[in-house]
């Protein structure tokens, strides 16, 4: 992989000592941009939330609890989780502009690389040369495995929920097999889940 930009800043190195009482440090907008771009570059192949945790805890920007709260909330909002998490961390640290700079930072290295590769692969007049096509097919097969491994932890949690498996399988059948429109499936499945898990006074939260 060619990396046209500067080498990534190593996140944990500049916090070698554990401060006895972590003094909250407020990053500047430029800090957010730089650190999240660095997180993106060390996070090729996934694991972005773990890299973000190391980066923000190592700089004493956040406590472990703050991070865990943001992480939970990032799972609840729609959209790509890693980008949502960057937006949340940025927002907590520096409000709306902080969210913007964190998101721009985490997206920029990948955008540059993806656009460069896209222009080459989609722009060739006679289509891709055969070996490159074969390579992309091989990569796609492995990407399928990556997707499946990413689904496994979610499915494990789903298995522990009341009605989790039937609702997940109904979603799979509706969207994957029957190719139904997503919003009605979302309405039925999430509606059923809300009823199943509605807050009841006799239950402990």
């Amino acid at each position: 992989m060619s990396a046209p930009t500067a080498p990534p800043p190593a996140p944990p190195e500049d916090a070698p000592h554990h401060p006895p009482a972590p003094v909250p440090v407020t990053p500047t907008h430029a800090d957010l941009l730089r650190v999240f771009a660095g997180v993106a570059m060390v996070g090729i192949g996934g694991g972005l939330p773990a890299h973000m945790r190391r980066a923000v805890l190592g700089r004493a920007w956040m406590t472990e609890l703050d991070f865990a709260e943001s992480y939970t909330l990032a799972q609840l909002t729609p959209g790509p989780n890693a980008v949502n998490l960057a937006a949340m961390i940025g927002a907590r640290l520096r409000g709306w502009p902080g969210a913007l700079w964190a998101v721009v930072g985490v997206l920029t290295p990948g955008l540059i690389a993806m656009l460069a590769v896209t222009v080459v692969t989609l722009g060739l007049p006679g289509g891709l040369p055969a070996p490159l096509q074969s390579a992309l097919r091989g990569a796609a097969c492995a990407a399928l495995a990556v997707m499946l491994t990413a689904a496994l932890p979610v499915l494990r949690v789903v298995g522990g929920l009341r009605g989790g498996w039937p609702l997940a399988l109904a979603t799979f059948a509706g969207i994957g097999l029957l190719r139904l429109d997503l919003l009605p499936v979302l309405g039925v499945v999430v509606g059923a889940g809300l009823i199943l898990h509605r807050p009841r006074p006799q239950e402990q939260p």
Binding site: M1, P78, L136, A142, G193
Partner: protein
Amino acid sequence: MTDAGANWLDILLTFTRLGLISFGGANLAEIERVLVGQRQWITPGTLASGFALGQVMPGPNMLAMTHYGFAAGGWAGAAAATLGFYGPTALLSAAAALAWRRLLGWKWLPTIRSALLPFGGGVLLAGVLVLARGSVQNVAGAVIAAAAFALLTRTRVNPALVVIGAAALGALIGL
């Protein structure tokens, strides 16, 4: 390149919708239904190869959306797809983070989480099915996918390396 190129506003709105309805990960089944089936902006092959490219890019692995946007409408399409897919959901996340203190004690919060998770799990499974249809076209492909899965679940190897290795293997055997 596909046709002359779709309208950037159309691309922006389509990708905004795709971003807002993905929970817990990439909603590849819906992405395929809309981009390949309904709009015919990309082919199943572009869907699969773009997704694979996304796995070896730095940062979030759904940068495939930028690839699809470019295929649909060139540079303006790539910009519109990226902005549409990431912008509104990031705004929503920032708003949620700023409102978090008030949300924390809300008794419906765990309920919403428990209701969304099975949906997210089913969507991820449907995405696996869609990707399998687009990428595994013969026995060799299935073997690569199975070997990659075994590697990823049994070792702590970087997924990007597995994808790059599979690409080399694919080029060697002329998959």
